[in-house]
């Protein structure tokens, strides 16, 4: 593994001063208030058209034929019965006979028919003959020294050992050492809108409606896969039903309809069903860590020695950051990727971080007990130095007060009765800075404003950020501003991923809006008997800074443009956004020791995110991250049958997800740091909750549960082991 090449931080430009986020004190601020999302009415009324809702005249429906086997060679594919079935218009071979399928759900072929049920019926009539091959359904199986060769470059791949400091000296300095193995499990993204697209050709021009995290990225990938010019592809995604990292790749559900629609001369739609979505649309890799760590008598971390492994499925890696955040001056880490025959991992909300966070935070709580320190104290002693992007110490102290940490009992609830309570904490960090964004702003003479940006809305509220930023900058009323996103014909923007979308596009929108505003000032200044630079905009008016009573209402000002609109463009520049967020979370749980059932009662999430653009939307991101992580901690768990490698819960019945009654009180504290500019927070809030919950369970029971999810059988087994080891009744 290679270190990333550090690059110089770009220097702020002239625009960064000219259009800095600062707001004159003499007018109302839009940014940072709670503006309801502009497309809320469309979403609550069902008017919002997702890719899944798109219907085109003459549209056909494609359905994949998928391998039921975890590993097999395709011997033959017989389409004859499928071709004869009602409504069938075409078939496609995705993998040729002689090649191998590597996991259950791997695509072999596809059919297209007039209706979706016909396509589903016909796909079942495609007869595929397989030669079944050896496979692995678990990491342990693939790691056996005498395992058959299933993956040609090795069933496992060891990374380079990374070592910092002097491990032997670190352990020599330790008053206590701990050896333990921790693990987290595989979960799938479960986007409610499954992966889907509609592809339609007009001559050599392809229009693709895609449920995607990146309209421009999809355009590039589709063109690459089809070997056509990027200029001939247009990707549209007005609304999308969740991605969580899995919708960056242009995969079979896009390329199959693109190819079939070309061949068949009709638009083709392909929508995965829930089972396909679980099997073949990505997952979060598993993580195992066998750790030996040392701590000094006064609670300073001295040494960390970790051997880690995990699987990202059939040939993909599973690395994760470790140790996480806390400073071990002497450390060693050796990681091995293990390949098994399942669907491939894809980035999933904060890739790697929830795993590394779990291992490290669990370890820290155990070390704190060895030393006899409050776990919060141990953390405070071992954090990196405080910096604007590393405020954990301050947040821990603040959160402890708000959460009532002083009511936390020492490890093991001694109260009588079967229901035990506990508290836990955990920290997170994330980069959250982006640089890919361009925007176009047009002020029309009638006062209406068009803001365009080729980003897309993953659910974070991107569309709303356009009028919030433009409204703030232009001083125009929000309802005069129309936002256009989700179309690759709009100015370039990067994918909504890595929490980079907002920091990527917000500077571009700010600059384009600022330029448009300056152009407007130049055109209306004479009407206010002022020089352009003496003007300001806000609260729906253009006014003279020194004499605000000399003003023009927004529409009156725009009327002065005559017939000529103002247009302006902007691109990301440094100085409006930055990287790195820090956050902490507190969790309180009850554990029923007679059933093993964990209930989360309260979560406190403190998160910084630089400049808060829209408080309502930013808070929603934190709620969502917390609940996603609660699901990771307790409920969701991709379960494979060990004998056959077949997934047992590719549905939403046995693949458990929290419902209303399972969701606790969640208090969100957003730390507004406007001086840092915009930073994305889609990911960091989902890093910490699971480990805070697991630490709270440990605090309740007096015994750690080192594997997720915290299923009752694990909780009861831990209680039993503790009791049997003389730990007394938990």
């Amino acid at each position: 593994m290679q270190q990333p090449t550090p690059q110089p931080t770009p220097q702020p430009t002239e625009n960064a001063t000219k259009y800095a986020w600062t707001v004159p004190p003499d007018r109302t601020r839009v940014i940072g208030t709670s503006v309801p999302r502009v497309d809320g009415p469309d979403k609550v009324s069902g008017r919002a058209k997702y890719t899944y809702d798109i219907a085109r005249p003459g549209m056909l429906h494609a359905r994949a034929v998928r391998s039921p086997h975890p590993h097999a060679r395709i011997v033959s594919i017989d389409f004859s019965a499928a071709k004869a079935a009602p409504g069938v218009r075409g078939v496609l071979t995705w993998k040729d006979p002689g090649t191998e399928v590597m996991y259950q759900g791997d695509v072999v072929a596809a059919v297209a028919a007039d209706t979706e049920p016909q396509a589903r019926d016909a796909a079942r009539l495609v007869r595929v003959e397989y030669e079944v091959l050896p496979f692995f359904s678990s990491e342990a199986a693939a790691m056996q020294p005498d395992a058959p060769v299933v993956f040609p470059n090795g069933n496992t791949q060891a990374g380079q050992t990374q070592e910092t400091g002097d491990l032997a000296a670190g352990f020599a300095a330790a008053a206590h050492t701990l050896e333990a193995t921790y693990s987290t499990h595989v979960i799938t993204h479960v986007c409610l809108e499954s992966h889907c697209s509609v592809c339609e050709w007009n001559g050599d021009q392809l229009t693709a409606w895609v449920s995607t995290q990146g309209v421009h990225a999809s355009k590039q990938q589709i063109a690459g896969a089809l070997k056509i010019d990027q200029a001939n592809v247009r990707v549209i995604c007005q609304y999308m039903g969740g991605g969580f990292g899995s919708k960056v790749t242009a995969d079979a559900p896009i390329i199959i309809p693109a190819r079939m629609s070309k061949d068949l001369g009709a638009p083709v739609k392909m929508v995965l069903d829930r089972k396909e979505e679980h099997l073949d649309s990505g997952n979060r890799p598993s993580a195992f860590a066998r750790v030996r760590a040392g701590v000094s008598a006064d609670g300073m971390l001295t040494a960390f020695d970790g051997v880690t492994w995990g699987t990202g499925g059939a040939g993909q890696g599973a690395n994760f950051p470790l140790p996480y955040i806390y400073q071990f001056p002497n450390r060693r880490r050796a990681h091995t990727n293990v390949y098994i025959n399942t669907g491939l991992q894809r980035p999933m909300r904060a890739p790697g971080h929830p795993q590394g966070c779990f291992v490290t935070e669990m370890l820290l709580d155990e070390l704190a007990d060895l030393v006899g320190l409050d776990p919060l104290e141990l953390r405070l002693k071992n954090l990196p130095p405080t910096a604007p992007d590393a405020m954990w110490a301050e947040y821990y102290r603040m959160g402890a007060k708000q959460f009532g940490w002083d009511r936390r009992h020492p490890t093991g609830d001694r109260n009588p009765g079967p229901i035990k309570t506990g508290m836990g904490v955990s920290a997170n960090q994330w980069g959250g800075g982006g640089r890919a964004g361009a925007a176009h702003v047009r002020i029309q003479p009638d006062g209406s404003v068009l803001v365009q940006c080729g980003s897309q809305d993953l659910g974070t509220g991107t569309r709303t950020l356009l009028p919030v930023i433009a409204g703030e900058t232009l001083g125009a009323p929000l309802d005069a501003i129309r936002a256009e996103i989700g179309d690759s014909n709009l100015p370039f923007a990067g994918v909504s991923g890595g929490s980079t979308a907002t920091p990527g596009i917000a500077p571009a929108i700010r600059i384009a809006s600022g330029r448009a505003r300056d152009a407007l000032f130049a055109r209306v200044a004479s009407a206010l008997d002022a020089a352009p630079e003496e003007l300001a905009a806000g609260d729906g008016r253009i006014f003279v800074k020194a004499a605000p009573e000399r003003s023009l209402a927004w529409r009156a000002a725009c009327k002065l443009l005559g017939q000529e609109p103002i247009t302006a463009d902007g691109q990301w520049e440094p100085g409006f956004s930055s990287v790195n967020t820090s956050g902490v979370q507190f969790a309180e749980v009850t554990v029923d020791t007679e059933t093993g059932i964990v209930k989360v009662t309260r979560i406190l999430a403190i998160q910084d995110c630089g400049l808060v653009l829209d408080r309502l939307l930013a808070e929603s991101q934190v709620y969502g991250g917390v609940i996603g992580s609660l699901n990771f901690a307790l409920f969701e768990d991709r379960t494979l049958d060990p004998r056959t490698g077949v997934m047992l819960n590719p549905n939403m019945e046995h693949y458990l997800l929290a419902g209303m009654t399972d969701v606790p009180q969640i208090d969100v504290v957003l730390m507004d740091m406007p001086e840092r500019g915009v930073i994305g927070i889609g990911e960091p809030p989902t890093v910490s909750t699971a480990s805070a919950i697991a630490n709270a369970v440990r605090n309740a029971l007096g015994v750690p549960i080192r594997s997720l999810p915290l299923h009752p059988h694990r909780v009861l087994a831990a209680i039993d082991a503790h009791t049997n080891s003389g730990g007394g009744p938990a």
Binding site: R37, D39, G40, K43, V44, S45, G46, A48, K49, Y50, Y52, D53, A55, P68, H69, A81, P86, E116, P117, Q118, D121, R124, L125, V132, L133, P134, F136, S138, E139, A140, P148, V190, C191, L192, E193, M240, G241, G242, F244, R274, F288, L458, G459, T460, E619, S620, Y623, G624, I627, P642, R643, T644, N651, M652, L657, A658, M660, T661, V663, Q665
Partner: protein, 202 residues
């Protein structure tokens, strides 16, 4: 972690993996069915038959197969695409419609089986641009993110408030327990449910 102690592939292939397609009969292949008994009602289908539905107050006749679910009939044949298909197995609630005053999973209801019922979908809730109070409350509280579960949650909340205009916390949680959100909007959906005003008993 399960140990794969079984040498790969030794599970008998007779047990595992039914030959795909062996038992399938595609739509329309079956001959039209004859009446079942001399006195009983005739069997309809399996091919398309006229199905009469009253959706959002409007009567429609759709030519559909008996196997078509209410959800697919409304979406694909009546072109009302507000409610979504997510799990398609009656577990997630995105397809929630109100039939004769009560919430149902429209993915797990046959369209042909609810003829004569009053069917309400999210598409019929607003009056033009005038949103239903529940919809207003969802917007104000940001009770949505990606919005894909939202139509189902809105319908479940409408039914909740028509049943209990002033719900207790327990009633609200319970009546909304049949819906799942993956983005994690629960707290704000809940806020919306408790703050929505002006909903009459349906």
């Amino acid at each position: 972690m399960a140990q794969n102690d079984d040498p790969a592939g030794t599970v008998s292939r007779r047990d595992f993996i039914k030959t795909v397609g062996a038992t399938s009969v595609a739509a329309g292949v079956l001959a039209p069915a004859a009446p079942v008994t001399a006195q009983g009602p005739a069997a309809l289908g399996p091919g398309p038959v006229p199905v009469n539905l009253t959706i959002n107050g409007r009567a429609r006749t759709l030519q559909i197969e008996p196997r078509v679910t209410l959800l697919d009939a409304v979406r694909d044949h009546a072109n009302l695409t507000g409610n979504k298909r997510v799990c398609d197995r009656g577990t997630c609630g995105a397809c929630t419609m109100i039939v004769d005053g009560r919430t149902v999973y429209s993915c797990s209801t046959l369209a042909i089986d609810v003829q004569g019922s009053r069917i309400r979908t999210v598409d019929g809730l607003a009056n033009g641009d005038d949103l239903h109070p529940v919809q207003e409350a969802f917007c104000a509280a940001d009770g949505m993110m990606c919005g894909f579960c939202t139509p189902g949650f809105v319908m479940a909340t409408v039914a909740l408030l028509e049943k209990y205009p002033k719900p207790t916390i327990a009633q609200a949680r319970r009546e909304l327990d049949g819906n799942v959100c993956r983005c994690g909007t629960f707290n704000r959906v809940f806020e919306a449910a408790l703050s929505a005003g002006g909903v009459n008993r349906g």
